[in-house]
Amino acid sequence: MHAGESAIEAHALGMRYRRGWALKDCSFRLPAGRICGLVGPNGAGKTTLLSIAARVLEPTQGTLSVFGAAPGSADSGRTAFLAQDKPLFRRFTVAETLRLGRELNPGWDQRTAEDVVRAGDVPLDARIGSLSGGLRSRVALALALGKRPDLLLLDEPMADLDPVARQEVMGTLLADTAERGTTLLMSTHVLAELENVCDYLVVLSGGEVRLAGDVEELLSVHTVVTGAKEGEDLPASLAQHSLVESRVSGRQFTALIRSEGPAAGRWETDSPNLEELLIAYLRSPGAAPLITPTAQARAYDTRTVAA
């Protein structure tokens, strides 16, 4: 339904804090309607990227446009952002917190918000300060979903939830976004959260984009190779492929390669799972970044340059 539309386009995005660059020259595209994981170690720039997309921060360099709107234009109400610490007014009741959403968002959907809250058995007249972390997260999520966003930005949404609540909240989130075709960009460092949830992926490390693209596509261009060492090294014939990461144990080696043509040889090949792929990229900062064609930022639009 969103065929070619971009939810996010980042062009040479950079953000500098006093302690240094949190993001450097980030360019990527997130097509609309995707559920995208934003992965990276702590300090990779995930929160910064989400805050820029949410218009909470202004980038030092470059631009980020949401649904083609000029960068720096006011919040159109199409984006909702759930920050990592899930700030809420502690003295407000749950009902008042939802009223905040209603008062400040023209497209507010009270029913959705209340459904999310009620699904977690959160009493509407309870003070936010008296709720547990999990229930508070649920209220914060209700506030984000009640805004009826087309792009939902979540920063470590599951960090303070127990495994049961995590599954519940994720279920609510996915059902709601699937129903409306909402684009979801969700940062995490819990890799298990991503499997079976995300169909798109952006991997950040050291403030730079390492991987971006459709999960299937990213997986299909990589191969895990396991075989016997040749002398002290990997087999020479592997060199025609770009090597992402390799490990040696005993006489065996295991390598993750980006296959350039058939990777035939005296070894076994297997397709990697998402976790293997991520770990390989996060462990080897020297590997060349990979941004698949759908995730490439399009040529500059003159309108956005002018802004």
């Binding site: 909470v56 919040d75 909702a80 920050a83 009902a95 400040l104 509407l124």
Partner: protein, 317 residues
């Protein structure tokens, strides 16, 4: 809107009861009032009590508590600056709720504007009421012998536009300090220093707000004394001097060496002293001085407000 009706049925009176004035406050104004309602009601309630006390005391034609009340009123700008101004933005920046608001569909400018506007309205309403009530009490005494005291802070700073302007500068200054420091406690401490400094500088400048007049007499210096010739309520800005026939001023110690009354008279005649020259500020200038001073304070407040928008519109939350 169907969403609204669903609220009233599901959350019932609770939700409706959360905004006491649902008709008056909508959108951002609702949020700001809800967030700060305890502070706002405290300020308004305390002011109402103080006004009631002043009105009661005055109705007894009773001066008891006048100077204590005045001291209390002079603390009002400092208290408002520290407890209302400083936490206004610092609180939101410190506990992250500034980001919560920024994530809604409202502009940063609207957030700043609404917070400053509602707070200013509360400050103006309470200080105008206090100033009017205390000014009414002061009216009783301004014709009395002690009337020259109109120039002192306990009358000058508590009546007319001065308390309003002092409070606004203190509160907006405190808000700006909070916006820059982003920490409530630090902002309150710095605001305390700022508001006290404002009071000190203000006291220092107070006398230069008026247009000092000079009264000269010509009936000699022994027949009448300065206090007798000045109009009621005139405040002497300096010591009196002798004035000679050709308009020169001489210190009052000029003939102090003379041992007898006669010697003094001779000495004065020799020096051609014809009367007194006294610099003073008449009480009639009080209102003018108050408005002139208040307009300076309000211009500073406007500058602080401009800074608030410049700084607050750009910085990350």
């Amino acid at each position: 809107m169907s969403s609204l009706t669903s609220t009233s049925t599901t959350t019932g009176a609770r939700a409706a009861g959360t905004g006491r004035l649902p008709q008056l406050f909508k959108g951002m104004a609702w949020l700001v009032w809800r967030q700060h309602r305890a502070a706002f009601w405290t300020v308004l309630g305390a002011s109402a009590l103080a006004v009631a006390y002043i009105v009661f005391q005055r109705s007894q034609v009773y001066i008891g508590g006048y100077s204590t009340t005045s001291t209390g009123l002079r603390l009002v700008p400092i208290l408002l600056g520290v407890f209302l101004g400083a936490p206004l933005f610092a609180g939101d920046l410190e506990n992250g709720t500034a980001r919560l608001v920024a994530a809604q569909s409202v502009s940063r400018t609207r957030w700043l504007t609404t917070k400053l506007a509602l707070t200013s309205v509360v400050v103006v309403v309470s200080t105008v009421a206090l100033s009017a009530a205390f000014g009414w009490w002061f009216d009783l005494y301004q014709s009395e012998v002690t009337a020259a005291e109109w120039i002192f802070e306990y009358n000058f700073n508590t009546t007319g536009p001065v308390p309003v302007a002092l409070a606004l500068l203190s509160v907006l200054g405190g808000a700006a300090i909070g916006l820059v420091l982003r920490r409530t406690l630090a902002a309150m401490a710095v605001t305390l220093a700022f508001t006290v400094a404002v009071q000190l500088v203000w006291s220092h400048l107070l006398l230069s707000l008026g247009n000092v007049l000079t009264l000269t007499t010509s009936k000699g210096v022994t027949a009448e004394y300065p206090a007798q010739v000045l109009p009621t309520g005139a405040y002497r800005t300096g010591g009196a001097s002798y004035i000679t026939g050709d308009g020169k001023l001489l210190g009052i110690g000029t003939c102090a060496d003379a041992q007898t009354e006669r010697a003094t008279e001779l000495c004065l005649r020799k020096a051609d002293v014809v009367g007194w020259s006294i610099d003073y500020l008449p009480m009639s200038q009080m209102t003018g001085m108050q408005w002139f001073g208040a307009s300076i304070l309000l211009a500073l407040t406007a500058a602080v407000t401009a800074f608030l928008f410049l700084w607050g519109g750009k910085r990350p939350v």
